[in-house]
Every structure is written in C-alpha cells, then in structure tokens.
C-alpha cells in the first residue's frame, strides 16, 4: 500500500499533462487531490506500523543478471520522512494556488518530484535509490528555471551542478562497494552486512557521505542552498528545504553510515586534533550551524535569511548523526521532520504571503510598509514559525534540538556549547528579520504598498494552519515519533553502526 504513494504521484503528474490547455482550476484540484491521496496512504501506514520495525512493501527482481531488485521497504525513520513529504506536498500545492503561468506543467513537475522523493525514502535497493535520487534533480531544475525569480537560471544551474557532483560521488562509492562485495547484489541490507575492509571503508565513507551531505547543505558545500532557495518559486523552496535537503541527510544515515560503519572509526593518527571522519564532519556541522546563523544575521534579502537558516538547521541534523548515540540520532530524525515543517512554513510566508504581494524581499523596503497591519496573518504566522524554529517548548524544534544537544553533550561536550551559541544567534536573526520585515521602526516614514495588497487567501491560511498544527503536534506528543524512530535503529541495517562506534 505504501508503494502507492509513488505511483499515485507519478500518475497524477501524467494525468495533469492530459488535461486540456488552460484548465488552471482543474490542474490545481487534481494536484491537490493527488497529494492528499499520497498523504492519506502515508498516514494509514504510519498508523498501522506503530512498532517502527522494518517491513517490506514490494520486492520483485528487476535486472536479475546484475542482482538488482525493485525492493521497497520502510521502517520508523522512512515512515516519518514519508509523512513529512505528504504534509509538505499538500501545503506546497496550497501555497502555489496563485500560479497561473503554465499551471499544469508546474504541478506535473511538482508531483514528479514528490513521487521521486517518496521513492528515495522507500527504496531498499541501492540502485533503485540512486535512480529515484537522480529523478529528483530533473524537475527541481525546471521548477526553478521556469517559475523562479531572482537569477533563476544561475540558481537552477548551480543546484543541478551541485546535485550531480554529489550524486557522482555517491555513484562512484556505490559501484566500488558493489564490485568489492562481489557483484552479486545491490540490496542495501546485504551490502551493509558485507565485511568491507577497514582501508576500503575509510576511503569510501567520506566519498559517499559527502556526496549525500552536499544535498544536506554541509558546510562548505552549502552554497547552492541559499541561492537555490531564493531563486525557486515558493512551492519549490518549500520542497527544497522541506524534503530535498532531507534526502541528503537521509542518504547519509541510511546509506553512507550503514554501508561503511568502520569509516566512522578512528584513523589511528590525528590532524589538528581531529582523529576520525566523524570528528571532521561533526566539526563541519557545528561550523555550519554557527556560520549559517551568522550569515543569516546580516542578510538584506528576507528569503536569504531563511535560506541561511536552513543551512544552520541542517547542521543540527548532521551533528545529530555524528553523535552516534541513540538520543542524538533520534533527535536528528526528529529535526529532519521539524525543520521540514518549519522551513516550509517560513518559505511560504516569505515567498507566497509577502513576496507575491509586495514584489520585493528587501528588508529595508518591507519595513516601512508596516506589513503587520496590512497582512497580520502573515506576521503572526512568521512569529509562530520563528518561535518554533528557535526551539521554544511546545513546538517540534524544542524536542529535536534538545535531543541533539543531549546526544552531542555525551559525544562532543565542547561542540554542544558552540551549538548553544548558535541557538542564541538563531533567536537573534529570526527576531531581526521579523522586526525588519513586518514592523516599521519608529520615526520612519510609512510607505503604503502600491497597489494595495490583496488579503491572505483561504488556501494560504489552511496551509499555514496545517504546518503550525503539525509542528505543535510534534511538540506536544514527540513520543508518537520517538516510539517508531527508536526501534528502527534496532534493525539489522544498523548492526554495523551499533557494533562499531555506537555510544
């Protein structure tokens, strides 16, 4: 049944292309219904598989001579990600209600992207995972290049190049692993249990990890993220920040760390106080957290603030992965969910509610409009999203960051302190952006936007309420997710990790 999420999305994309020319409303509704159907399937599975353990969805041979199978499976981690994808898909369509230019192509690309994302999260065969991973790149490029804004060709091309560089690194690593293991299977769990030599793992792990982590915005390979987010149309930014970046983090956890667990172990020597790849990536993650937050602090463009905040928040996820203890890893998965919801919400406020109305994202121009009086809903939504994103209790971000910090405290106490500093800057840049974007400073002459702004529409309100509600739900009942994420780490897939450097 869970496989249906992929098929429905692809079918929906095909169905959209069959619609007559100019049928805007039909396209929107078809897209929304498809997304809702996908979410309904995801939610049903989520409710049915409360144990969080791995279960097979579909398994048929695909290219038997190479040992490649069409193998879909899910556990608590992928279920969480699939639920997130479903929510973001629905709200993304709600926030794209205003797209009138080539509507059906837009939603067709959109659904193609969603279907491929579902595919990545469900794949249990490396080759299949890679295929879906590549499919993601294509619609992403077109969504930005056709419907984007500010320097869209540049942003789209940069994103595509970064993605391809990353996937090439992943591909090299995967082929190497396939060959070394004897060219019989591409099954993830079989390869994960193959005893690769320490030397091989030490080389292959950073290659594959960085390959995926590029898409997760690992510093210093993050630069595609802010420009890509800014150039993308609202729904695409939401997808990019909400789920596509999670693909990278998911790949790091699901592929790189499970296939080459020994690669996380100590080198046996140290360089600048770093003794393993784990130390290196943890350091890069912490740099990303602080660096992203600092750069977000001085942006003049509202959307760049959110773009860099994504870099900062993705650093939390990568740090959580590198803690290698249960609480840190669980926190990382929870942060994937939380950041997906909140980054989506923030991009929706900036891109749809503000930019689509005022046609500017310059904080210096937005301020004097005193937008909180004209579109109070947008201001309130941003404030709530900001509070959630800075990790206030009661919202999803609190538990995620708390668990990551607790995990980090056990593995890297000094980094935990630095992260605390990053959290403080997080509060500052969110509040700065909020004040500058929605509230005129005293003494500044007010400018009224021309022509007068249309009010916030129903789909926007719905979308905002869904995302805020989801974040509060996670914040109030985190155990619903913890209960299915934690057992997932007990599957054979993570055996190497548990035996090796697990703390």
């Amino acid at each position: 049944m869970l496989a249906g999420t992929i098929y429905i999305s692809f079918l929906g994309a095909a169905g959209l292309l069959l619609l007559p020319k100019g049928s805007v409303t039909a396209a929107r509704i078809l897209a929304l219904l498809t997304a809702i159907a996908g979410f309904a399937l995801a939610l049903t599975s989520f409710v049915h598989h409360r144990s969080g353990e791995l279960f097979t969805v579909t398994r048929v041979p695909w290219i038997p001579t190479l040992g490649i199978e069409y193998h879909l499976a899910a556990d608590g981690i992928s279920l969480t990600m699939i639920l997130l994808t479903g929510i973001i898909a629905i709200t993304g369509i709600l926030f794209s209600w205003n797209i009138v230019e080539r509507t059906k192509e837009f939603f067709a690309f959109y659904l193609l992207l969603i279907g491929a994302v579902y595919g990545v999260f469900l794949s249990y065969d490396l080759f299949l995972l890679f295929v879906f991973y590549e499919i993601v790149i294509i619609p992403k490029y077109f969504l930005i290049a056709i419907w984007g804004s500010t320097r869209r060709e540049y942003g789209a091309m940069k994103l595509a190049i970064y993605s391809f560089v990353g996937s090439t690194m992943v591909l090299i690593g995967l082929i190497a692993a396939y060959v070394v293991a004897g060219s019989k299977t591409t099954s993830l769990v079989d390869l994960a249990q193959y005893p690769f030599s320490l030397h091989f793992q030490m080389l292959a792990f950073p290659l594959v990890f960085v390959g995926f982590a590029i898409l997760a915005g690992l510093w210093p390979f993050h630069t595609w993220a802010p420009t890509g987010h800014v150039a993308a149309p609202t729904a695409a930014s939401m997808l990019l920040a909400g789920v596509v970046m999670k693909l990278g983090a998911y790949g790091c956890l699901r592929v790189a760390m499970t296939l080459f667990p020994l690669g996380l172990g100590p080198w046996g020597f140290h360089v600048l106080g770093l003794t393993s790849w784990r130390d290196v990536f943890a350091l890069l993650a912490v740099i990303g957290i602080i660096y992203g937050a600092l750069v977000a602090l001085v942006q003049k463009d509202f959307k760049f603030v959110i773009g860099y905040s994504s870099v900062s928040h993705m650093g939390f996820i990568l740090l959580g992965l590198m803690t290698l203890n249960q609480i840190g890893l669980t926190g990382a998965v929870l942060q994937m969910l939380s950041h997906g919801l909140l980054a989506g919400l923030m991009f929706a406020v900036v891109g749809r509610m503000v930019y689509a109305r005022t046609h500017t994202r310059e904080l210096a121009i937005l301020g004097p409009m005193n937008l909180w009086k004209i579109i109070p809903f947008a201001a309130v939504t941003f404030i709530v999203a900001g509070m959630a994103s800075m990790g206030l209790p009661g919202f999803s971000g609190f538990w995620a960051e708390l668990m990551i910090l607790t995990g980090a405290w056990r593995s890297y106490p000094a980094y935990a302190l630095c992260v605390g500093f990053g959290i403080i800057i997080g509060v500052v840049y969110i509040w700065r952006a909020m004040l500058k974007a929605f509230f005129a400073e005293t003494g500044v002459e007010l400018t009224s936007p021309q022509p007068s702004l249309p009010p916030i529409t129903l789909p926007e309100r719905l979308g905002a309420i869904i995302l805020i509600g989801a974040s509060i739900f996670v914040g109030v009942c985190p155990q619903v997710f913890q209960n299915i994420i934690i057992p997932a780490f007990n599957s054979p897939l993570f055996e190497g990790l548990r035996k090796g450097s697990w703390q």
Binding site: K158, I161, P220, H222, T223, T227, Y291, L294, V295, L297, V298, Q299, I425, V428
Partner: protein, 688 residues
Amino acid sequence: MTWIVQNLWLIPALPILAAGISSLLKQKSRISAASLAIGSMAVSFLLSLCAFAHVLTNHETDQVLTYNFGWFQFGNEWLKLGWMLDPLTAVMLVMVSFVGLLIFIYSTGYMEHDENFTRFFCFLALFAGAMLGVVIANSLLLLYMCWEIVGLTSYLLIGFWYHKPEAAAAAKKAFITTRIGDLGFLLGMVWLYTKSGTLLFYDNGAGCLEHSALTHLVAQTTVYGLSISAAISILVFCGAAGKSGQFPLHVWLPDAMEGPTPVSALIHAATMVAAGVFLVARIYPLMSAHAGTSLSPTIALQVVTWIGAITALFGATIAVGQYDIKRILAYSTVSQLGYMMMGLGVGGVAVGMFHLITHAFFKALLFLGAGSVIHGCHEEQDIRRMGGLRKFMPITFAAYTVGMLALCGFPFFFSGFWSKDAILHAAHNWSISQAPYYMGAIGALLTAFYMTRQMYYVYAGSSRLSDASDDSSHVAHRDPHESPAVMTAPLVILATCAVLLGFVGTPAWPWFQSFLEGNQANFTLAAFSEAGIIPVMLSSSLLVFIGLGLGWFFYGRTPITSASAPDNLGKLQPQIYSTLNRAYFVDAIYGATIIRLNTAWSILCDWMDRWVWNGAVQAVSYLVLAFAWLDHFIDTYIVNSSFDGGCEGVSRSGLLLGLLQAGRVQNYMRVIGCALVALTIFLLWGAK
C-alpha cells in the same frame, strides 16, 4: 466515611463555579450574576450546616475526618492534597458561608447603581470559594493555594473602583504587603516539606500535624537552640501576620477600605483577615509542640502572643485619632485581630477562635452599618460631616448600637464581652508575663472610648451634611435617608447573632470551647467561682464603663456642631493626637526607610544595567555582527566565487579547446606541420 465528608469539596467548588460562569456573562446580565452568586452561596451554607451537624452528632469519636487524594507524582513521591472536617472547619464553614450569604444579599442593594455589578459578584463569589477552600484544606499546600487566590480576589476587590488612584494604590499595597508575609509562609512550608515529607495535616498518623512528625520536628534544633517546629511555625506565622494585619504588616488594612463597603465587611473584617488567625489555629499542634513535658508556652506561641498584644493596643490607639468612619473600623479590626492572636497564644485554639467568630458577626454588622450610613449620606465617609443620623436611619442606628456594644464588650448581654473576657482571663493566667494582660485591658478601654466617640459623631446631634456644601464638589442639601430593606435585613440578622452568640461560650456553659476541644459541655454556674474569673470580669467591665464614660465626657456632653471644629481630645493634646491621626507615621517611616532603600537600590541596579551590563552585551553583539559580516564576506567571495570561478574555468577551457577544433583545415595543416618539424628535431636530437 459519610457523604458529606466525601463531598465537602462542593462547598468551595460551588461559588468558584458560579464565579466562572458569571465571568462569561455579559455586563448587562446583573440579575443572573447576583442570583448565581447568592444561590451558590446559599447551597454552600446548607452544605456547611450539614457538615456542622455531622460533626456535632459524631462529636465523641474525637477523630479528624479526612479525604486525601494524590495530585501528581514526582520520583517515587506522591504529592497529596485533601480536605478535612473537624470542629474548627465546621465552625468556620458555617461562619464564612453565613456571613458571606448575608453580605452577598446586602451587596445587591449597595452596589445597585454600579456599572460593573456583574464583575463584582464574580470576584465576590471567587473570594468566597477560595476562602471556604482555605477552611477545608487538609494540606498546607492546598491551603496556600486557596490563600493566594483569596489574596488575589482581595487585590481585585480593593481596586474594584480602580479609576480612583487611591483604590489602585491601596490594592497594590495590600497585595505587596501580604506577599511579604507570604514569603515567610512559603519558606516555612518548603522547610516543613523537606523535614516531614508531607504537607497533609492529618493522614492516619503520617500527617505533619500528627504525633510522629511532631516529635521528629521538635527533636531537631536550629540556630539559637530554636527547635525546627518553632522556626517553621514562626515562618508560617509571618504569612498569618501579613493576612491578618498584625504589626508591623498592618499598614495595608486601613488603606484597603478604599474598596466597596461590602468588601470591607466580608473580606477585611469578617473572613479573609481572620484567615491568618485561622491558620495559626490550624497549625496549633505544630505551634504548641513541646520538646519534653515543660509547661511553659513555646517560643512560637510567645511570638504570637506578643505580636498580638502589641497589635491590639497599637490598633486601638490609632483608631482614636481617625475621622473616616471606615478607617476607625479598620484600625479597630487590626486591634481585634491582635486580640485573637493573643488569645491563641495565651489560651489556645478555643479562646482565639471564639473571639474570631463573635468578631466576624459584630464587625460585619458594624461595616454593613457603616455602609448603610455611607449609602444614606451620599458616599460621605467623614464622621465630622455626619451627625444626627439617629433620626434619619433608625434601623441602622439600632443595629449599629448593638454592634458597637458588642465590640466594646458591654457586660453580659453582648457576645464581644464573653469572647474578649475569655482572652483577658487567659492572659491574666499566662505564666510568662502579665504585660499582655495589661495591654489588652488598656486596649479594651480604648475600644469603648473610640466607639463612643464614633457613635456621638455619627448619630447624635444634628446633621452636618449641609456643612459639606462649602466643598463645591459635593451635591448639597440632600437629607440622609434610610437604606432599603435588602440592606437593613442583613443588619438585623447580624445584630441578633451579635447578641446571642455570646451565650454559647460563657464560663458557665462553655459549649463552644468544648465543641472545639471535643469535650462535653456542662452547664454549671460554679465555674464563675473559679479563681480569677470574677475579678477579671469585673475589672474589664469597669474598664468598658470608664471608656464609655470618657467618650461621653469628651464628645457627648456638648453636642458637636460644626464639621470644621477640632476634635475635643485633639484640643487637649494636639501633638499626640496628630501622631495618632497619622497612625504613628508608620507609613512615613516605611517610606523613608525600606521604600527609599529599595528605590536607591533599584536606581543603582538600573545604572549598572544601563551602563555596565548593557555595555557588555552591546560589545558582544557588535562582535557577533563583525563575525557575521566576515562570514558573509567569506561566503560571497570565497565559497561562492570559488564555485563560480571553477565553473568559469571549465567553460573558458572549453572555449580554448574549442579554438583548436574551429574547422579550419589550414589551421589543422599548420599544426600538423609544426608538429612534424618538432618531431623530426626531437628524433634527430635523440639519435645523436
């Protein structure tokens, strides 16, 4: 366990529920708000009577009926709350709900023209519920929670006419002053919890007021050889002193008279201010816990006695110098609360509580009477501008006279006599010192004196209301009028109680005392012959007559004719009199010391905050911003340009290579030629 014990919680819950519902009502729905409050109070009163009857019939069992339940768990410990029913609770329940009911009814008349009528009844009902909660609580924590709600409603009701700056200031003052006392209460409670592990009073032997916990608390000592039980008791007594307006925390109570008069009657005379006395009575086992078999009073009880005695005398002297009808009564309340505390200290629960109950009735009566007077005199509160009201308000006058005589302790026929006499008798027999007895006795004389003074000012002579017309702010030339029946009826009922209540606690038939102590009372006239009773009774009667006579001497002989004429006593000793009028300058002293110190400290902290800490924070913020700009620079010019540069390099090298493949055959031939020459030279060179 009977129905009433299990459902005792209904008694406070009903008024609170009524408050909750009426908070949702519109301002216009006056009748429903008032009937909700009165109806819930009436049901609570009936339930209280049931509870009282239950205690009365199960009198001999001598067992505290409790109902405890777990509230929440932390670690392995359950925090338990609960309620209890013992004679003390039963008496207080009946008193609070009965007086409350009468005052609620009275308020419908008094507050008739107020536009915030609905809000008033909402607060009043919330107060009543919280006060009943204080009474039934079987846990110091539950008591504290209700205690704080009581404080909150008191704040809200004092400041009910918040548009008057005095009322707003008085509300704030009341809240802050009582909070200072509550700090001690809270500390005592926390200490008690850490030492005994429970805050339940009675819990089948495991409660903090029961034998095992008390022996444990008495055995340990803290600084100056003070036992822990005494230290905790004194801390909790701080809270009681704050609520009950004991010296030196009494300053809020006179100011609290800015609230509507029914509030003054209910909260600041009959019930809330008595909550402190009740609290001391409730934790009396802790207060009086002895280490061995020594018979002398414990340190805690000595503190209570001395504070009570000082307050009793102190309040009475100030009351002599006041002109505001409600402020006289307020200082009188302070003084009487001192008597109650003293009674608890020297004579035990029964003595103090008896005075609490009788005082609740006659002081509520006096306040309601004062309210009736104020209402009839068109919101005039200055007694110098009244006079002659006996003619205009006969019912109020009669009821007020009863209340006044009860307060003075007029012999034999009024309840105040019996309860005050019990206190004086106990003080006379106190083993530590005789001073409290003399202080109480002088206080009794002064009480009779200032009440006589007030009576002459208000009711005798001719009306001086028209004198007020000099003051242009007043509406001139309106005669005072008697209040409506809805206001006078409660007066009559309270007056009846003020007379009759005394007869349940006379030495001859000490039913009340025996009820609280769980004994059987027998009627015996022989009790009068016990040592000391008759002399104390005679001397206190004599003092009352002297007080009344002095009052007549100063104010009754020559009628007061003019509102602007100086006080007859004030003419004699103007300096002392103005000291009394200004309440010994306590407020001014606080203003010059504690408040000024606090202000200076605040200014210092503000300065530190502005310049030192803010400077540091600013410096950090600039540092962070500098780093932010640096990172921004790195991101734009290094991370990003290296990507852009790399891409550009790729495309430029593509262009360069493209030049080689431009499709011009001549170029290809030229390259081949050059290469051929180079190869030939190389081969020749190599062959050499």
